[in-house]
Symmetry: C2
Subunit: 486 residues, 2 copies
């Protein structure tokens, strides 16, 4: 407040010296969206929301912060990235880290056992930002989840189908959806001789395979996490498996895995999932990959992750000799992910009552980064307004006539702008139409007013014609239709 | 994390005892939106956004938090209500308190001097919540602002017009937009003998006139803020003035006011504003009111506030004998407000360069509370999905056929659902259509599959007819059009 008073005083004294006391910026890892960027973002959202609605989803919203204890113990090693609010007296609060935990809290709180909902909102992670690669501390998630007691793989396959539909429609290049199963991973760890209490931490290590080399992951398992080198090497053998139904059948015959009930369950479910994906005509996009782990603790069944090709997700092994180019091609990678989490809602229920859930989360920022780059490269102008008509004064002293005309057009739901100057120059007004892509100028001059008409001008062709005031609304609508169809 | 591990352990041990360790709730002053509420909210947003776009606005977005120092010294006595984030190492951050300060920061940071933009987003205030009256700690603001060096009252009048259009379209009852001018207030304070350094604090007291009686406001001025009783009584005389252009002309002749350059400037601008409002055909909605002050420090010119009638904003004087009813009728009140703030952007500029701005903020929560109440009272069922077709299995073992059919419909952009059970009961599936208002059921049975057709059923009329698979998409589209037009 002191600063403000001083600034006020300065202003009153007519002192124009520097008044800035701090760096003008957005907080680290965040950014503004300008109107062009908003235009691209709205296009992406429309595609995503249309798809969610095509699959019959409702939508909900939850607060941006939750009681801190709601988030505690849900994110494993990533919990350190949660933003806390300052204790200003009252409840201890944290910004949401994802939309899945608030969704589970919502279900438990309202005793909802069946719902299909989407939720598009910002989430917050105190991660190391890499903004050119689309990694932010504040970012959107577009989540679709199906909760309820259903038959195996029917909701799960629909989630995978949704990812495929959205990425196809967004037309941002080739992609692959890798799928795996937490039960298969656990069964595999057990078959490899990983002690039960190390499952989650070894799983976290496997999760890093899409960013680092096997040699480094192995070192983490053995040196940091105390796994025996033999067990690590057995894991190293399995994580190479990827493919389709035939790969799953091969693994079902594996001596070690076939003894694990969990592994067999996981493999059978994945076979059913791939069968359903085939019926949904997306099997060319879906690949089973035993190296996919996903970091979050709460997954219990199928897990999946979509990566854009040409933005390689897998690093080239060190021995194959990496060039500078690979670095660049890792720049985007994963754009969607999700899986089944049958235990999460039960963690919030007084009686531990479970609600089976499966869902998918689309990460908009990386997709957006690609589309923005493409828009810049193509050099096409993006309109940021929908204005249809600009009311032009051809002469001075017509401001009241302009206001009346604007009122008529607005009340007829025609998107209309005018100059905020009392006596604007004609050239400036036409220039504004061209710069902003406003298709029609409606011109008022003394002769028009005397004859109760206007001059209607097509900004593009510059063709002009007189239109009586009575017919104006109708003529504008006709002109707009003819412009849109041409 | 400890809790999670214990819960994990419990789950493994098959212990189904109570696992809840805390109260399941939203943070104080916040709430979830369920699908019905989201449906109402989306309707309100659509009306508001359409209006903003009709007036040619672009849109931007800013982060939910700002550097703490950006917000410091902008909100006067309300600064204590700002939410701070915990210092977790790094920058000191606060949740945004409104959208106006982030907008000014955005303009200064990007050196933008002319823009017309809207911004719809949540803001945060650690206020005392009154949730049944639509007062929350997390709430939406829908802001429209015009920045740039323009001629007097042209942008200002358009902001008032926009409020009138939106409140008319939302159809939530009669409303009035009260207007006043900060320069007139300052000139009036000066004419009443208020010392210069008390202008802002006396203005804050006047701002409370819409919630409390003059007697209490006078006591605050005299007892708390040390104003002379004579000055307070002179203010008491002026704040009773309200009306139209004739009232402004009466005040222009006032001996005290006419000597103040500021007061005359304010009165002349208000006259011009009301003239423009007349041209915009909203003068029946707009009333000059010298008791309107608005709390925020940053206003420098015209200010306005829209109140719903029948949700009285003004308390009845104590002497007129208040009944219990009045309490209830104050429950909603102000739904939109704004004004001119020509100095705010300059506070962020290194050279103090000013960008004149005027804007309006629509408060969605109170409007939403009214519409939700109305929806509940009318007992009309609100659809929360857009699903057009439900694919029904008439028999067992048809899941693969169903999946194939859904794939065809989704790929043709038809909004389609199906059961997630492998062998759902026919009755359950028809029931789902009726409960959820899905207009068409497409039924698959053995005979349909053998004849390469489906049975198409109108949920409402229950009329059924056979349609060949080849014509299905086209027939569904026709049926949907005929249902919509009936």
């Amino acid at each position: 407040e002191e600063v403000a008073k001083l600034l006020d005083l300065k202003a009153k004294l007519g002192d124009d010296g520097p008044s800035k006391k701090f760096v003008l910026k957005c907080p680290k890892g965040t950014r503004d969206y300008n109107p062009q960027q908003m235009s691209i973002r709205e296009g992406v959202f429309n595609t995503i929301i249309s798809c969610f609605k095509r699959h019959g989803a409702e939508t909900i919203d939850t607060p941006v912060f939750e009681l801190k204890e709601i988030l505690t113990g849900k994110y494993g090693e990533d919990s350190k990235l949660i933003y806390d609010l300052q204790d200003q007296g009252g409840e201890l609060l944290s910004l949401r880290y994802d939309l899945t935990v608030p969704f589970a809290r919502y279900l438990a709180m309202n005793k909802i056992t069946t719902i299909k909902r989407y939720h598009i909102a910002k989430v917050y992670r105190r991660d190391n930002p890499a903004m050119t690669r689309g990694r932010f501390r504040e970012f959107y998630q577009c989540d679709f989840d199906i909760a309820g007691q259903f038959d195996a793989m029917l909701p799960d396959a629909e989630c995978v189908k949704i990812v495929a539909e959205i990425l196809t429609q967004l037309d941002i290049g080739e992609f692959k959806i890798r799928v795996n199963h937490r039960k298969l991973l656990d069964g595999m760890f057990s078959a490899c001789g990983v002690p039960d209490d190390k499952f989650r931490s070894i799983c976290s290590a496997v999760d890093k395979l899409d960013k680092t080399f096997w040699e480094d992951v192995r070192a983490e398992m053995v040196d940091e996490k105390g796994l025996s080198p033999e067990a690590a090497d057995r894991i190293g053998h399995f994580v190479k498996f990827s493919g389709g139904i035939s790969t799953l059948e091969e693994l079902l015959k594996d001596e070690g895995l076939s003894k694990s009930k969990l592994a067999v369950e996981g493999l059978e479910e994945l076979k059913l999932l791939l069968t359903y994906c085939d019926l949904y005509k997306i099997s060319d996009k879906v690949v089973f990959d035993l190296s996919l782990a996903r970091g979050l603790d709460y997954y219990t069944g199928v897990i999946y992750e979509a990566c854009l090709q040409g933005y390689a997700n897998k690093p080239v092994s060190a021995s194959s000799g990496g060039s500078g180019e690979e670095e660049e091609s890792v720049s985007v990678g994963s754009v969607a992910g999700g899986g089944r989490y049958d235990g999460l809602v039960g963690m919030f229920d007084a009686k531990g009552k479970k609600v089976p859930c499966v869902g998918v989360s689309i990460g908009i920022e990386r997709i957006f980064a690609i589309m923005e780059q493409r828009a810049m490269a193509s050099n096409t102008k993006i309109r940021t307004t929908d204005t249809e008509v600009y009311v032009v004064s051809a002469q001075k002293h017509l401001v009241e006539h302009r206001l009346k005309l604007c009122q008529e057009l607005w009340d007829a739901d025609i998107k209309t702008e005018q100059s905020y100057k009392k006596n604007p120059k004609a050239l400036d007004q036409f220039q504004y139409c061209e710069t902003n892509g406003i298709p029609i100028a409606v011109i008022l001059g003394q002769s028009e007013i005397e004859n109760n008409c206007v001059t209607m001008r097509n900004t593009n062709t510059r063709a002009e014609r007189k239109v009586s005031r009575e017919d104006l609304i109708e003529e504008i609508r006709k002109e707009l239709i003819s412009i849109k169809s041409s």
